[in-house]
């Protein structure tokens, strides 16, 4: 019996979301009285023994280079095999891009009940009940997993990483890895940008900014805050900004620590993608904009005046 934590990597490094999952898995193991072990597919430059600092005793590594790229079919097969050979009863992973591709496959392969998008540790007082978001963040569901093996994927940014001391033993996992049916022919990263789904702070612009030529001040503010940039749907639909920046019910759903909405009215479909942000700041010239109802802080004012001042004030703070 153990909790097996899937540690996701890209280009030789462990992803930020995986540290959140490590903390979640370690706490879950303590709660149900078992140990937490990690599983990494492929090869990385990071020191795997150092994952002990997050509370895992053992790291299993399937150091096969085929696994450096995601192939959901292969990943699920290898992870399911690991679950069985290690004797894990719970598998936890991030509900990130990789998690969305593999969680259901692992679940179907093991006939293990799955909860995706979890936001809290399970309630194990009566069953195994996991809280998740539903209706695009407008509600929560408590879902009971009724099978002996459980699979949980954790929403990014819903769990604080806890780091301590310790070192884990690293063991190589002997699994059969079939040739991948997926050929990766290109990886196009937007260089220099903070990935939206992993960002702590997001600066977002709407139609109130009038046109793509005015995004310089949004980017300046984002740069000063080391934030990712986002936008409302009409902004992406008009090609003012790339599609991957569109947040909302039909775009990307995010839960950063801080979401700054500039010139966005706060339509219900927009709020659905951002309402799990911890702190929401709204800058809008219309005091009646619905977004103010969902905000923690707000300025009623013209973005073209307020935003450059905001950037300057933050710069001042950083220089002090």
């Amino acid at each position: 019996m153990c909790v097996l934590i899937f540690v996701d990597q890209t280009e030789g490094h462990i992803k930020k979301s995986s540290y959140e999952v490590l903390t979640y898995g370690v706490k879950l193991a303590a709660q149900i009285g078992t140990t937490a072990e990690a599983l990494l597919l492929g090869t990385v430059n990071d020191d795997l023994a150092a994952l002990g600092k997050y509370g895992v005793s053992k790291v299993h590594q399937a150091a096969n280079e085929t696994l450096n790229h995601l192939d959901a079919q292969l990943y699920a097969k290898v992870i399911a095999e690991a679950v069985q050979s290690i004797g894990a009863t719970v598998v936890v992973l991030s509900h990130n891009q990789t998690g969305k591709a593999i969680a259901a496959r692992i679940s179907a392969r093991l006939k293990a009940g799955l909860v995706t998008g979890a936001i809290a540790l399970p309630d194990t007082s009566n069953g195994f009940v996991v809280k998740r978001t539903v209706f695009s963040g407008k509600a929560f569901a408590n879902v009971n997993i009724v099978t002996p093996i459980k699979v949980i994927s954790l929403n990014p940014n819903s769990f604080h990483v806890a780091v301590g001391e310790g070192s884990a033993t690293v063991e190589s996992l002997n699994v059969t890895v079939d040739p991948s049916k997926i050929k990766v022919t290109a990886v196009n990263k937007v260089s220099g940008e903070v990935p939206l789904t992993e960002a702590d702070i997001v600066v977002s612009g709407g139609r109130g900014l009038k046109g793509p030529e005015n995004w310089g001040m949004i980017e300046d503010l984002a740069h000063e805050l080391h934030a990712a940039t986002a936008c409302s749907r009409p902004v992406a639909d008009s090609d003012w900004r790339p599609h991957h920046e569109h947040v909302g019910q039909t775009g990307v759903q995010i839960a950063p620590n801080l979401y700054i909405a500039i010139g966005i009215s706060g339509a219900i479909q927009h709020l659905a993608g951002v309402n799990r942000s911890k702190v929401i700041v709204v800058i809008n010239k219309d005091p009646e904009a619905p977004f103010f109802k969902a905000a923690d802080y707000g300025i009623v004012g013209d973005a073209f005046e307020v935003v450059p001042q905001l950037t300057a004030e933050i710069k001042k703070m950083h220089n002090n």
Partner: protein
Amino acid sequence: MKILVCISKTPDTTSKIAFKNGNTQFDEAGVQWILNPYDEWYALVKALELKEKDPSIVLHLITVGTADCDPVIRKALALGGDEAIRVNTDSTDSYSIAVQIAAVAKEGGYDLILTGKETIDYNGASVPGFISELLDIPYVSLAIKFELNGSVATIDREIEGGEEVNEVALPVVVGCQKGMAEQRIPNMRGIMAARTKPLKVVAPIAVDALTSVVNFELPLAKAGVKLVAADNVAELVRLLHEEAKAI
């Protein structure tokens, strides 16, 4: 070449979300049902584009649900597609839904199965993954671009901070999102044609759910917004730094 597009109904995006029976059931009173936007805008329209290029493609739509799904599946047929299949069962969890779709897919021998990346009500993002595993074929999730050359698909998928281009031989399951296709509006001719297109109702196969919903909760209301004057931006920075500890 045969394509299967999975269709789900979801509450309209402006629906008030409320629950009944001790918060154990979604309150459907007054709710307008729509096609799940990801299924409609991206999966279905992509399939239509492929069929327009190659009219020999056979395009089927599938949904799992009771007769109250029929208006939504007819609306999908109004956009296009040759016929629809409804597996007649009340859905329990997403695994059981996927088992029904996989059973139909296996029998139908589809080369390409398209779904939305998730539904906007349950947000599970799991049905396409389940189907692909049950059929033991490749799966590409969060697809933003799709091209077909003979029997090889070139698919761009979202990764953290960018895109990755995948090449995969059919059959494959693809979870679709923004970028795949441009939204379309059904026209009168499509709506008329949809009325006479076959809608096959098939019986479900037996399956045990792996999960069950205990109850639902609504988020706590926000305390209310703290407004800062537009000529006092420094105060906002102070609050974000000292009070909210967000910067």
